[in-house]
Subunit: 424 residues, 2 copies
């Protein structure tokens, strides 16, 4: 899980206890600099030893900022602070983002609120920003006081070290149980002007739909108004971070921020723009998929695609019911083409379904149709398909035009091992 | 899981592969005969070899019958048949119940419907009953045609062997992945007349609230009108079978039937009766708890008690969110007093919660209050408590008077092992 497994993380970084996920990409991508954005990362010992655990990002004056946050009723002080600040931003000041790993500053009472204020003020002082333009996130253990002074003491040095190229250290500093840092980039042509959208994220457990990113920070040199930026971020979040699930558990700290510096020279985007949003979706889905690929104990990357539902909402209910079903997820772990469990998950979803109209495919293999197993179905072929690392479960309800896609991973002994370990 | 793990079951019965749950009761209870009810069990080889797999119950003329069923949209042919028959019963004919394990006759198209009709007709013929008074259930693998003839061929012999004392063979015949048969009994005094309520059930996985019994059959010699019987069964189901969860997955076959023979000589109950219902609740909760105790891989029996919620519905949302959270359940498996995960599960439930009013206890140990860890909290004491087999997680929202209790088990390597195994 993300929000309370610090001691393991230190070990994970050392590489001894938890190996890098078998589903990890080949390496961290070469993230280009975004004109107007600089990063620094430091090892201040919030909880982990001998690894970077604080990230500072500075976004130049003239930028806009959008954000989406967890809807948890027990969300952290930093999330509440960010949500309060977002409606009151101006473009002429610039922004800072301060993130620490190792301690989530969640369920820490009034002290937690004060710690957020103290850190934001220290960053504002170090970068000559209004405190209302400093966003913070904390991720790690829940319920322990944050050693805020370790962070505030480090902020002047971090401010002095800011560097447009320091994306990988920044991506590493926000990791908790992650076994690899997660970055993504895309270039988009906006009426002849090339703009770049890049970002990084963290998360490997306590991941579920309903604003389920863990932490994600995305930056672009495109010029986009605050309102258009927010609208595109919220819409894209639904089909990226909010469409992945590892274990159906939702963090108290989930945050995605998107900053646009406007330095690429495009005509400012004032309304949601299809081209920009398509690029944003590429980056956000890539990051969301990497979170699934780093799902605790994951050995399979699974796409659940539902079509033909009575509505999109019904399709989503069914896709999530399948993707969150422990029985489906253990069957995936066992490489078992157990379509009976898919039928069960469709049935329990609460969405409209007619057994006799249901069609189920594993990849291209037709498994069941018309209320029974398909005549062409071969258990051997299906079993061979399930041995792949990337699995598609395709369900057609045969009722209407509602569709939804959700990404998940399997449920393995590795998940139990990571999460049943004692904390200390 | 219940509805598709037959080959394992045969092994389980032999005792080789899956040991009896560490949470099992000492033995099958001594279930008394109910005047007017007789049972028979046979080994017909539906799928398992060398074990009883068909149960026949006969309930004498003059009895009433009530039932509750899964709400799954992909429910089995037998469930649909039972639901259709229930509103059209008369008291002067008697009833039969036929249950097979090994094959769920679910997602078997039109043939599945025919197989239910064929079995019900054979039982009706053997016992001289109207076919509309024969209820059937099937539990086992999904999506394979039921060898109905093996069952129909055996019914005459089973009818001839009916015996009021054959409750344990009946309880064993309905088992699938269960590691022990589940029975319960209570005696209730109704204005000086002693009546008995007894029953048996099966289930160990694919168990979740929302009509989650798996299969349960309850019998009483009390005289109760059909309407009162149904009303009391439905109400009691909510606080028994529907208040347990092993893995949040809901079967396609869940069924509970309650038959009342009226031979005890009490004044017929025509309206819900507190005394009878209290006794029914004892039996149904006992059976429901046994299902949790046989939860696949379970090593802890866990009560999640929520009080002080804004409404009962909110309390139930929170209790289920905690009880179904993989992170809470793995912490329980690891004997980790990880209250941060309880906070997370409260937050994600969608119910109203105020972090600063939340009180969390593990057993009698005050863990957190007023938005932070309790001053008196001792991690050592909590860790010692978590080593017990029976755990209470007590959450007071501090908002209102809504309450709910849900029972669950931990999530262990055993669950993965049982459910990630290949089917054949």
């Amino acid at each position: 899980m993300t929000d309370d497994a610090p001691s393991k993380v230190a070990v994970a970084i050392g590489g001894a206890k938890y190996a890098v996920s078998p589903l990890a990409p080949a390496g961290f991508p070469d993230l280009p600099a975004i004109n107007g954005v600089r990063f620094a990362a430091g090892a201040v010992g919030v909880r982990y030893k001998n690894r970077v655990d604080v990230m500072l990002a500075h976004i130049a004056a003239g930028s806009t900022m959008a954000g989406v946050f967890t809807r948890s009723a027990t969300r952290s002080a930093a999330v509440l602070d960010g949500q309060a600040k977002l409606p009151h931003l101006s473009a002429d000041k610039g922004f800072a983002i301060v993130v620490n790993s190792g301690n989530a500053n969640t369920f820490t009472g009034k002290r937690g609120v004060t710690d957020v204020e103290v850190i934001a003020q220290a960053a504002a002082d170090a970068l000559d920003l209004p405190v209302g333009h400093v966003f913070t996130s904390s991720t790690g253990v829940i319920g322990e006081p944050l050693p805020a002074q370790k962070i505030t003491d480090a902020l002047p040095d971090l401010a002095a070290a800011l560097d447009a190229g320091a994306t990988e250290p920044a991506a590493r500093a926000i990791m908790t149980t992650d076994t690899f840092p997660k970055g993504a980039v895309v270039r988009v042509d906006l009426d002849g002007v090339a703009v770049t959208i890049m970002g990084f994220a963290k998360g490997s457990g306590m991941i579920a739909p309903d604003m389920a990113t863990m932490l994600g920070y995305i930056f672009t040199d495109a010029a986009v108004t605050q309102d258009a930026l927010q609208e595109m971020l919220s819409a894209t979040n639904k089909v990226s971070f909010n469409a992945v699930t590892v274990d159906s558990d939702t963090s108290t700290s989930d945050t995605v921020l998107l900053a646009a510096t406007g330095r690429a020279g495009n005509l400012p985007i004032t309304q949601p723009d299809d081209g920009f949003q398509a690029g944003l979706q590429v980056v956000m889905q890539d990051l969301a998929h990497q979170i699934v690929r780093d799902g605790e104990g994951a050995t399979k990357f699974v796409e659940v695609r539902v079509t033909g539902a009575d509505s999109n909402a019904d399709a989503e209910k069914i896709a999530r019911s399948i993707a969150n079903s422990p029985l489906v997820k253990t069957a995936l772990a066992g490489e078992d083409p157990n379509w009976g469990r898919v039928v069960m998950a469709v049935g329990k979803s609460g969405a409209k379904a007619d057994r006799d109209l249901l069609t189920i495919r594993f990849g291209d293999i037709l498994v069941a149709e018309n209320g029974w197993i398909a005549e062409s179905y071969s258990e051997d072929a299906a079993a061979a398909y399930m041995k792949q690392q990337e699995i598609l479960i395709d369900v057609d309800l045969g009722l209407g035009t509602g569709t939804a896609t959700v990404w998940t991973c399997d449920l393995t002994h590795g998940y139990i091992q990571i999460n049943a370990d004692y904390r200390s």
